[in-house]
Symmetry: C2
């Protein structure tokens, strides 16, 4: 396995809490842990963006939020408006669920146009906001995964993300990360969904993941630390 430092691992983590009943104290704790462990970002629902942005004001930790999560079945207008509002509230990164019906149907025009519209919102900001597109890879066969990756490339997404972590088909899989890395072109790859240990996180990075989404960031770092000791 490629050597990776503790700092590199930490700075690849979007530390995530999307549990709908999580409260202000939970979000504050998430932010404080992200600062302490030097994670890349915290990933929270839109209603918590102002709290997280405020809490992280004097840190290097970014605020990531989700759009049309986890179904992805909102209209393009609604997704664009949601992303715009999230950015105005303080989000640095947007993780949008792709339109799964369009992937299923092979509707390239719908899928690509929607990603382009979101990319336009994100990339017209200064500094630019990062757009990640979740393709729920475990739910689709190889051809449909490739099709979805092509749409992400054409639509100018910054990242292709494996999973919401909530789909019945499952979360991030090594083979999907490899496939997505091959098909991603200029897009980076975020592995998310079911990543709970340092071993899993490192395997995803080894397979090509540039970012890791996980609610187990602290456990992963403590785990990694223990392996080094």
């Amino acid at each position: 396995m490629t050597a990776i430092t503790k700092e590199q691992l930490a700075s690849s983590i979007d530390y995530t809490l999307l549990q709908p009943q999580a409260g202000a104290d939970d979000i504050a704790a998430l932010c404080d842990e992200a600062v302490r462990y030097r994670f890349y970002s915290v990933c929270v629902h839109t209603r918590w963006i102002p709290l997280a942005a405020d809490r992280l004001n004097n840190s290097r930790v970014n605020v990531c939020s989700v759009v049309s999560f986890p179904h992805g079945a909102d209209s393009t207008r609604i997704k664009v408006s949601q992303a715009h509002q999230a950015i105005m509230d303080g989000a640095d990164e947007i993780d949008m669920v792709a339109d799964l019906a369009a992937i299923e149907a092979g509707d390239s025009k719908y899928l690509t146009t929607q990603i382009q519209a979101l990319a336009r919102v994100c990339h017209s900001m200064s500094p630019k906001v990062t757009l990640k597109v979740i393709i729920e890879s475990a739910a689709f066969d190889v051809d449909k995964k490739m099709f979805a990756c092509a749409a992400c490339r054409q639509g100018k997404a910054d990242f292709i993300k494996t999973s919401t972590g909530l789909h019945t088909s499952g979360g991030a899989r090594i083979e999907d990360v490899k496939l997505m890395k091959d098909a991603a072109g200029d897009c980076r790859v975020k592995a998310a969904g079911g990543i709970r240990t340092a071993e899993q996180a490192l395997a995803m990075i080894q397979a090509g993941a540039d970012r890791i989404g996980t609610s187990c960031g602290v456990a992963i770092m403590e785990n990694f630390q223990a392996d080094l000791d």
Copy 2:
């Protein structure tokens, strides 16, 4: 059990398809079945509202859509904007997921203000749009359910709805419908989540439900028919 006619049962059903990979043909079939069985509405994701509104143009079947589904953790601004866009696209009814964190925390101001904001959008339309608020009743204890019902009343929701059908705690329960009916004041009650048979649907109506949300509308009607024969 109170006698209920086939027509009464049919006209209480929101015939629902929120599967994220469902395609245009599935939505068209949903609409056609809703017309044939005289259901109250079809309930679809926002991206399908124009298709459903168009398909149901010359029928009495209404178009219902969902806001912040299923987590309910979007900011009030985002929920308001999503509801407004859904209405502009042709929705007659809005099923919004309440802010579960605010129910959990007992934050009456946040919860009520948000419901009021959504009610204002829906009720300022002519004709008025119906607002249903989903409180995910199986996830909360009796006190929190009562608290959520009070916020729905104060916020002027038209309906309190039991469940998204996707929460790990489960869907509609008879005892919750009874409790909600008692606590609902002027609000009506919609039972949804796991209702798959005519027997279940009738038991919910018997317990006080004014509306039934189900993806099994056709099976329920055929089932009811068979019981009468």
